[in-house]
């Protein structure tokens, strides 16, 4: 007879669509963001197919422009930003702090519905003709000249922003107020620290993009003229307002992934993180300093060179805490008991690719280099190294690591290793040539390009095909595991953490009563240590 857990505790569509259980809401998010990932990937596929040849022969210019715009909008707002927080964060944070649920379960459900509503708006915009402004919506093109449903798409982004805000709010209050007895801040898992820092960015940054896209919609629909140069409006003001959020947004995308990596590295080295408080404080430092660097997107737009220097300086400073984390992860593996199961493969991939992506970010932060590579494929390569080589690998690593806990099943480890390797190879083949193309001078958002860039583009498209297959394989084996996978014990990896103390899958209430925590949640006990028991 099956024990009662959150998955079989209540059946039927209503029990899922009206659930207050953070674990079920996490799965609702998992389904919807996977759907958006497929949609965003479809747009990417069309872009890469077009770029096989120098001429713009597959799609019309207008269609191509819509494809890269929709790829960016869907991937940034509907996949990357929610991904780890909404799926893994929602599932794990209450368990990791020893609580029965988040502080506001109904707001949690509401945030999913808001996300879906925003997604519908955006899909409507896509299906009724698309938007061709680029995901950055720069004025005056977006307000005066763009083709397509700018207002609908802008409203879709606006609405979804509130999903992010409410998730961040929920996490902050939960982490502050619902920690179990004995669970002090410095006993929290680093996954929680990174989500706390992420939540700070979500609540402080997202409202600014909300008002900014609302102004774009208002200007386009009501002809207000705030960014219109003919009225004395400043198109660069839009860029400042947009990037004030959108730069911290990239830290929303990467900090949770870093939290995942901290957990995986500890679990698969069976060793406590090296430099716990340094990693914890680095998360906060990245969040805070990340709010002060937005002008590095505007170096060549005519911003004062002195303002540019301040932004450049701070952009270098914000890289330091990330470097600290990379060194601390590496030091954690030193003299660990290392096992290269699939989550650890993803973590290794993350550390390597994030290092490359982050260091190429330093190239962009150097104003003199940025003159040459701004708005070229160099930038495209840089951010894909971070967002795909970094964030998505972190997401996949986390999904693999916690899949036995979430589903109660084991997936096929050989297939998982195979697809991890395929993703790694496909990814590098896709994006490394883009660094070269960018430095050669190939601008981004180009439908057609001079012939000397073709070899690099062909390599990139080949890599993208491999990458796409690599992403499909986990869908298959995860789905298969749900029906035929071996059942999982509480702690299949031999890891430490409150989540590994409870059954896989967990009961609806997580804990029967509040657990009383006596040490850091990752302590591996050696030999002659006594453990305090109630």
């Amino acid at each position: 007879m099956e024990t009662v857990n959150y998955l079989n505790n209540g059946h039927g569509l209503k029990s899922w669509l009206l659930t207050k259980d953070h674990k079920r809401i996490a799965l609702l998010y998992l389904v919807s963001i996977t759907a958006f990932f497929v949609i965003g990937g479809f747009f990417a596929m069309l872009v890469r197919l077009e770029l096989l040849t120098p001429a713009g022969d597959l799609l019309s210019s207008e269609t191509y422009n819509k494809m890269f715009t929709m790829h960016g909008v869907v991937m940034v707002f509907f996949f990357l930003i929610p991904s780890i927080p909404a799926v893994l964060g929602n599932f794990l944070i209450p368990i990791m702090v020893g609580a029965k649920d988040l502080a506001f379960p109904r707001i949690n459900l509401l945030s999913w519905y808001i996300y879906v509503l925003g997604g519908i708006f955006t899909l409507v915009a896509a299906l009724s003709g698309g938007v061709d402004t680029g995901w950055t919506f720069y004025t005056p093109y977006s307000t005066a000249a763009a083709n397509g449903h700018v207002i609908t798409a802008a409203l879709g982004v606006f609405i979804t922003g509130f999903s992010s805000i409410l998730t961040g709010l929920n996490f902050i209050v939960t982490i502050h107020k619902m920690r179990a007895p004995g669970l002090t801040w410095f006993r929290l898992p680093l996954f929680v620290w990174s989500h706390y820092a992420t939540s700070l960015i979500m609540i402080l940054g997202t409202p600014v993009i909300a008002i900014t896209v609302l102004l774009v919609a208002a200007e386009r629909g009501l002809h207000l003229g705030i960014f219109d140069p003919a009225l004395g409006g400043d198109p660069v003001l839009f860029q400042h307002l947009f990037w004030f959020y959108s730069h911290p947004a990239v830290y929303i995308m990467i900090l949770p992934a870093m939290g995942v990596i901290s957990e995986i590295v500890q679990a698969f080295s069976r060793k406590n993180i090296f430099g716990y408080s340094f990693v914890a404080f680095s998360s906060l430092a990245i969040a805070i300093i990340g709010f002060l660097v937005w002008g590095h997107h505007i170096f060549v737009a005519g911003q004062s060179v002195y303002a540019g220097m301040v932004f450049s300086f701070l952009s270098f400073v914000v890289a330091i805490p990330s470097a600290i984390k990379v060194f601390n992860w590496t030091a954690t593996i030193y003299r660990g008991s290392v096992s290269l199961e699939s989550p650890m493969l993803y973590a290794f991939g993350f550390i390597g690719l994030f290092t490359i992506g982050g260091l190429t970010g330093l190239m962009l932060a150097a104003m003199g280099i940025d003159i040459h590579v701004h708005d070229t494929y160099f930038v495209v390569a840089h951010f894909h190294y971070i967002m795909v080589g970094g964030a998505i690998m972190g997401y996949l690593g986390g999904l693999h690591y916690w899949w036995p806990k979430i589903s109660g099943r084991r997936y096929s480890e050989p297939w998982a290793k195979f697809s991890a390797l395929m993703i790694f190879v496909g990814f590098n083949l896709t994006f490394f040539p883009q660094f070269i193309a960018g430095y050669l001078g190939m601008p981004r958002r180009y439908h057609a390009y001079p012939p000397e860039f073709q070899v690099l583009n062909v390599a990139s498209t080949l890599g993208a095909s491999i990458l796409a297959v690599g992403y499909v394989i986990p869908l298959v084996y995860f789905a298969y595991s749900l029906v035929a996978g071996e059942k999982s014990v509480n702690d299949p990896w031999g890891a430490r953490g409150l989540e590994w103390e409870i059954p896989s899958p967990p009961p609806t209430e997580n804990f029967t009563v509040s657990p009383i925590v006596t040490e850091g949640t990752h302590q591996y006990m050696h030999g002659n240590q006594e453990v305090g028991l109630a």
Binding site: N272, I333, R335, G352, L359, L362, P450, V455
Partner: protein
Amino acid sequence: MFTNFPFFPEQASTQAAQVDGVFFFTMAVTAFFSLLIAALLVLFAIKYRRQDEDEIGAEIHGSLALEMLWTVIPFFITMIMFVWGAKVFFDAYRPPRGAMEIYIVGKQWMWKAQHMGGQKEINELHVPAGRPVKLMMGSEDVLHSFYIPAFRVKADVIPGRYNVVWFTPTKPGRYHLFCAEYCGTRHSGMIGWVEVMEPNDFQAWLGGGRPADSPAAAGEKLFTDLVCITCHRDDAQARAPQLKGLFGHTVRLQGGATVTADEAYIRESIVNPQAKIVDGFAPIMPTFQGMVTEEQLLQLIAYVRSLGEQTPPPSAAPAVPAPPGPGKD
């Protein structure tokens, strides 16, 4: 497709070598640390691989010394990158005096160039090797960006204001010109060629331009057609500031502030004259917004520049302010 496959762009300007310098430094740092981390990961994964099921890792929590080390060293390295990069940028946007000026107007989806000697080009730019060239750039409609990869030169072109780039081409040849700020349907078609010529060849090419086509001449014609002369005249009936010798000098505004009469100031005075009122004059100039294109604005500016140094007016007294208008509003 596999022939003529470049890996690295040509250096065709003095700036290119500077940009590449700081790039090579950061690339070396990137390669070093990426390889170091990758090597350590592989090394540790092999050396410390799990031997039995119950094995756990060593009890190590951290090291303040190491944390300091790998905070301070990266900080110093990044500061080198910052200072070096800032210096290159600073120089890249400070045109030297006496640079040859060319006006550029970007519009969906073409680049128009206007040489001071009268030559006009579309999607092509002829420049001489070995001397500094300064581009004064405006946009007719949306954001664009003027980008010459071989020169390592780029600046956005923004409607409503002017941006400047400069470069000294070093190698005669033909180099790509791209628009690098997404501007709509034919963004990837807004490309062209920069033709760097030996100085003698360039002179010959310039000779093909008619002085009557020069921007200054066109501007003078506009000045007449738009009857600017009604107020901007150099006698005692002038109701507007003198334009002779104005360009480049300091102007005193109402309220005591001063401003330099550069291209941006002249442009603003034509499209938004109420923004800055010259001391001693009434705010009666009408706006010409919408009546002149960006190109025409550049021509008017060229004309004002051509009016040269200030000559003393016929009467010794300073310009007499117009009689006060009826009421404030």
